[in-house]
Amino acid sequence: MRLVRWFRELPRAGQVGVLIIAMVLLLGLIVPAISPYGVEGTESGSNEAPSLAHPFGTDQLGRDIITRSFAATHLDVFVAVVGVLVPLLIGTVLGALAATTDIRVIRGGIALLIDGINAFPFLILALGVIAVVGTGITGMIVAIALTSWARYAKLARTRAATLRELDFVSALKLLGYSRVRIVIRHILPNCFRETAAYGVSDFTLVILTVAALSFLGAGVRPPTPEWGSMMADGRMFLMSAPWLLVGPGIVLTITAFGVSLIGEALKDRVRA
């Protein structure tokens, strides 16, 4: 019931976004399940143009592209969800810590890291980390976590610094609550509300980065279906078989579009 109310109160664009994402996730379950072709099955001719039998065509190994495009949904969304949640958690805690601790080394150290990491273009630093820790799903999540937390930490630090000056915090101090309790019970939840709202709009960036990393050959490895790596295949056959690119590209764009609509709607609500 709360979910229904939450949905009703969203702006129109946000509702559209929720419907898009629900549809993409649902199709991600249904299409591979009802498809007569396997995700890694190679039973058809290679690089066949879209037809009734293969609405998005087939790829260079004769695999059905619509099946693979939707089979990729859950992997991509999963990596992006983890890639948002882990840095969100780390970043908010470290940011709140930096703003509330009196130990200068910790405060200065976190500040140095926040500024240092945030200065880099996200994709480039993530590529750099992957070069060192290795490719694959784990490498990609590690890279995103190590580089993204600083954005959340910056938000949380600013928020926590404002909060600690507020009257209710002074009141809690007067009541004799310990500093640790004040931070954990009162300041952190407040910071999370702000970083979580940012996290939804960050989701678009992360899902596009996951695809870009795989497109560059630094993320999910074939034959696992993933939008970015499928589109890298499409690049090889751009002239002879452009449908290799278009199928996964459309599903990825629609997903990212849905998420960004939700993000916009939630941002407006936080501001209001």
Binding site: L112, V132, L208, P242
Partner: protein, 316 residues
């Protein structure tokens, strides 16, 4: 003492802050190679490498001694412009970057020019007609283009413009600007498509708030019209907030340059980085990552100074 002087001069404070970030950027780039699980030298050379080759590689990568010693070696090298030697190409990293960077910078220059040229008319129109059909179309369209990955737009553009319409070269780049514009306009258009919405949105919001200022009303009453009105009363007072966006835009530019260079086969730092990652060329990866960070710091310092010059109230 130093703090007092710095506190009094906002310019010094901007510079001090940039210096802090620049040091942080160098530390991050330094730590990057030390993130490796296990020994990066063994990863590079394989398990059956001889002890001598391991020792040689360790010296080459600057991995001898304790972390503070390594950091000193690294910073000392940077001071001399020495970023180590590429493991794959066998030449100095600074030389490789020196060859690739001009391509990326030219790509960025054309992209940012295009972005500004598109964004200004759109944002002025949207700010003046906030409830019109164009404004809502712009809002939806901008969400859509931001959601489209640059490599998807890039490959589609390549397919349409270069393969079907044949109005652009398929790949590569010959010479420099201005002749190279025939190679750069399409990749730049691709990059600007995802940047225009971001810039135009901030600019439109800024113009919309400028319009509500009294001096604009007065200008309208006085009958100021046309270009003077658009520039002096609408755009110029609205630029300051967009300048703080500049470092974000340059960062995004650098990142989209990576994928776009790969798509269009441009021999810039992005292509170099992708090859370096594939070949596990640690010094080269570290060098390019560092350059991208330093570049962003440099641009945001300049943006901060310009912002301060335009509107001293903004400087904290």
């Amino acid at each position: 003492m130093i703090y007092r002087v710095a506190a009094r001069s906002p310019l010094l404070r901007i510079l001090g802050r940039s210096l802090f970030v620049a040091v942080a950027v160098m530390l991050v780039a330094f730590s990057l190679m030390r993130l490796a699980p296990g020994d990066p030298v063994v990863v590079l050379l394989g398990d059956n490498a001889t002890d001598e080759s391991i020792a040689l590689m360790r010296t080459q990568l600057g991995l001898n001694g304790s972390y503070p010693e390594q950091l000193a070696t690294y910073l000392g090298g940077l001071a001399r412009g020495d970023m180590g030697k590429s493991v794959v190409f066998g030449v100095s990293v600074s030389r490789l970057i020196g060859q690739a960077l001009p391509v990326t910078l030219q790509l960025m220059l054309v992209s940012i020019t295009m972005t500004v040229l598109f964004a200004i008319p759109i944002s002025v129109y949207v700010a003046l007609h906030p409830r019109g059909r164009v404004a809502s179309l712009f809002l939806i369209g901008s969400s859509f283009f931001v959601s489209m990955p640059a490599f998807f737009i890039g490959l589609l553009a390549l397919l349409i413009a270069a393969v079907w319409l044949k109005i652009a070269p398929v790949a590569g780049m010959v010479g420099n600007l201005p002749q190279a514009i025939s190679y750069l306009w399409l990749p730049s258009l691709v990059i600007s498509l995802s940047l225009v919405p971001i810039l135009a949105r901030v600019l439109a919001a800024s113009i919309a708030s400028t319009i509500r200022e009294e001096f604009v009303e007065v200008a309208i009453v006085r009958g100021v019209r046309g270009r003077t009105f658009a520039w002096r009363y609408l755009l110029r007072p609205s630029i300051a907030p967009t300048l703080s966006l500049l470092s974000y835009i340059v960062g995004t530019l650098f990142a989209s340059a990576v994928v776009v260079e790969l798509v269009f086969n441009l021999p810039g730092t992005g292509t170099l980085l992708v090859n370096a990652v594939a070949g596990r060329d640690y010094p080269l990866v570290q060098g390019i990552v560092l350059i991208s960070g330093v570049f962003v710091v440099l641009v945001s310092t300049i943006a901060d100074i310009i912002t301060y010059k335009i509107d001293p109230r903004v400087a904290l």
